[in-house]
C-alpha cells in the first residue's frame, strides 16, 4: 500500500523496536501508535505485522476489539458523551442525540472538516454531575440539550484562539 510516508513508517518501526524484548508486545505497540497518531489504519498494521510476525488479521482483530483503538482519524475535538446508568437516567441520550443532530454525524463518526468526533462512552465515573460530557479531557457537568449548541460554539472559539496564538508565535 502506498499511503504511508517513509517518516511515518520509520516511526512505526521504531515504536515496534521499543518492545522487541516483550513476549506479547502487541497491545503496547498499538497503544503507542494510537497515542502518537490518533488512529491505526491497515497500512500501519501491515508494518506492525512485518515487525512482529503477528498476522494482519489478528492485529486487526485486536484493533477492532478494543474501543480505545481507532481505524480512522479522530477529530480535533473528541466529544465523549457518557451513557452510563446515572447519566442515562438524567437524559444523556437526548444530549448525545442533540450533538448528533447539530454535527450531522452518528456516534463513532467524525465531521467532514475533521473538527469533531462524537463518541458514546460508558460510565466515566462522574455520576455526581450527570449527565457528563467530556471534550478533549475537559468535563462539562450537568449537560442539557439546550446547552449543546453553546458548547459546540465554545470549541470553535477555543480553536480560533489557538490558531491566533500559533500565528503569533510563528
Amino acid at each position: 500500500m502506498g499511503g504511508l510516508n517513509s517518516a511515518a513508517e520509520a516511526k512505526i518501526r521504531e515504536i515496534c523496536a521499543r518492545y522487541k524484548e516483550e513476549n506479547t508486545p502487541l497491545m503496547m505497540i498499538l497503544n503507542d501508535i494510537q497515542n502518537e497518531y490518533g488512529y491505526i489504519p491497515l497500512e500501519v498494521q501491515e508494518v506492525v505485522s512485518e515487525e512482529t510476525g503477528i498476522s494482519v488479521a489478528e492485529i486487526y482483530g485486536v484493533v477492532t476489539f478494543y474501543s480505545f483503538f481507532s481505524l480512522t482519524p479522530k477529530g480535533k475535538y473528541v466529544i465523549g458523551c457518557c451513557l452510563g446508568t446515572a447519566c442515562y437516567v438524567k437524559g444523556a441520550q437526548q444530549v448525545i442525540d442533540k450533538f448528533s443532530e447539530e454535527l450531522n454525524i452518528k456516534p463513532g463518526e467524525t465531521t467532514d472538516d475533521g473538527m469533531f468526533t462524537l463518541d458514546a462512552l460508558r460510565c466515566i465515573g462522574a455520576c455526581g454531575i450527570a449527565p457528563a460530557v467530556s471534550i478533549n479531557g475537559k468535563v462539562y457537568p450537568k449537560m442539557t440539550v439546550a446547552q449543546v449548541r453553546e458548547v459546540i460554539a465554545q470549541q470553535y472559539l477555543d480553536y480560533e484562539k489557538k490558531q491566533e496564538k500559533e500565528g503569533v508565535t510563528a
Binding site: 491497515l42 498494521q45 488479521a57 489478528e58 486487526y60 482483530g61
Partner: protein, 590 residues
Amino acid sequence: MINIKIEGIDYQVEEGLTILDAARTCGYEIPSLCAFNHGECNQGSCRVCLVEATGARGLVASCVYPVAEGMEIRISSPKAVAARRHSVELLLSNHNKNCQQCDKNGQCELLNVAQLTGARDDAFAGAHSETYLDRLAPALVRDTSKCILCGRCVARCQNAHGLGILGFQNRGFNTFVGPAENRSFADSPCIQCGQCVNVCPTGALMEHSEIDKIDEAFRAGKHVIAQAAPAVRAALGEEFGYPIGTPTTGKMAAAMRRLGFERVYDVNFGADLTIMEEGTELLKRLTEGGTLPMITSCSPGWVNYAEYNYGDLLPHLSSCKSPHQMQGAIIKSYWAKQYDIDPKDIFVVSVMPCIAKKFEKEREQEKVDGIPDVDAVITTRELARMIRRSGILFQRLPDEDWDADIMGDYSGAGVIFGVTGGVMEAALRTVYFKLTGKEHDPIEFTDVRGHDAGIREASLDINGTVVNVAIASGMRSAKVLLDDIRAGKSKYQFIEIMGCPGGCINGGGQPYVRPRLLPNEEDNILDTYKEKRAKALYSEDERQVVRQSHNNPQIIELYDKYLGEPNGHLAHKLLHTSYAKRTGFNEIAK
C-alpha cells in the same frame, strides 16, 4: 492409569486425557462440535460437549477438562443432556437456517449435532448479528451467516501456512471471522488454497461452485471434455462410503462418463507432459547456468504465495503451467485439430482436489490466443454432488478405463503427482534417464516420499552431476527454504513446493475428514488419512506398466507429431506461463 467412573461404571484411563478423549477409549462418543484436530479450534468455546463431573463446579466442557483420579462422569444425566441441547440451540439462534439451500447439507456438523442433541425448537429466537457474504474470489465463498465462530479456519490458516489471513473481528454480538478490514479473499493476500474450507464445520466457508457453468455448457451444446487429477481418485470413494485410502479410479471414470462428458481424460497425461517440460527446463538450467534452485509450479496455492510474498524469487519458479492447464491447452489445440473442432466450441472441465485451481484457470497467463485452457474447475466434493444428483449408484458402477484416444494414456510417474514428493520423484525418474541414458534401478526414489507437511531432502549423484533436492508442503515449511534462497545460502538445485500440507491428497477440494461422521474409521483417522490416501496413489503407480513419463507412448507421439521438442517454440506457447509480483492488501475503492 487412573480410575474414573462413567455412568457409574468403573474404567481405567490414561492420566492427562480430556474427558472427551478418555470417554472415547471407554466406548462413549460425547456429542461435541468444535473440538477438532488436536486443538485446531477456539477451545471449549462452543459448549456443546458439556457433561457432569465430580470435583467440578457446574458442568464442564469435556473437550478441555482433564480427567482426575476418582472422577465420576455423567453424560446421560438430564442436566447434561439439556445443557448440550441448549448450547446447540443457542448456536442455532444466530444461524442462517436455510439448510435446504446449503451445499454443506448432509455433511454439516452443526446439523449433525442438532440431531444428536435433539435441538428441535427455535428456543432462543431473537436478534441476528449483521452478516457478510463474499463471493468475489474465484476459489472460495465466505458466508458469515453460517459461521459459529469455532475458530478452526483461523487456526488452520496459521498452522498450515503461517499466514493468518482469517481472524476474529469486532467484539461481542458483532464478532465475525474474516480477512482484515472484512475484505474479500480476492483483495487480501489469501492464497485461496481452501485449507480453511476443509475444516469449516458448517457452510460458512465453501468452494465457489462451478457446477452451474457445466450445466450451461451442456445446454449450449459445447463439446464438454472432463479431466480428473491424480489425487481425486484417492479420495472420491470417501464420499460414497468407502474407507479412506480406497482408490476408485475405474468407478470414477465410469461415473464421469455417465454424467455426459464427451471424453473423460486423466490429468496424469498432463502430468507426464509437465515432467517432459519441467525436466527439460531443469536440465537446461543445470547445464546452461539458469536460475537455481528451480522450484515446481504445479500448485496454484503456492504460486499465489510466491507472487504475494516472494516477488523477488519468481525467476526460480519453473515456467511450466500446471498439468491440467497443459492438458487443457493440448485439448484445445492438438486434440481439436485431430477432430476438426473449433477450440471455441470446446468446454474443458477439470476435476481437482484443489480450489486454488478455480483461481488459476482465470489467470490471463493461462490463456492461449485469448482462449482459456480450462473453462471450469470442480472439486472432488463437487464431482460427488454431481454424481449423487444424477442418481448414479457409485458403488454399483463397473470399473472402466479413461478415454485414451490420441491422448490420455499415462505413466505411474503421473499418478504420484498427487502427493508431496511425487512431482520430485516423477521428475527424477526422467532426469536420471536423460543424464545417464538408462532407467534408475529401482524405479522408485523413496527418499523423497512422505505424506505430511515438513521438509524432506535428498542428494543424488547422477553421472557426476550432483543434484540436491528438497520438498516442502504447506507454506510454513516452504518459507524456511525460500528464506534460505533469499539469503543466498540454499544448497539445492531443485525444490518441490506444494501449497497444502501433504500435497494434493490433502487439497482444499477433497472430501471432509470428520471423525464423528465417519463411524467406520479408526479414532486416529485425523493422523492417518493423508498416509492412506498417499498409499492409494503409490499402489496405482506400482500397477502401471509404464512408470516413467518419457516412456508414455502417447507423449512421445505428441512431441513427434505436433509439439516438436520439449521447451520448443510451440511447447512454450501452449505449455508455459509467467508470474508477476502482487500486493497483498491492494488499494480498493472504499
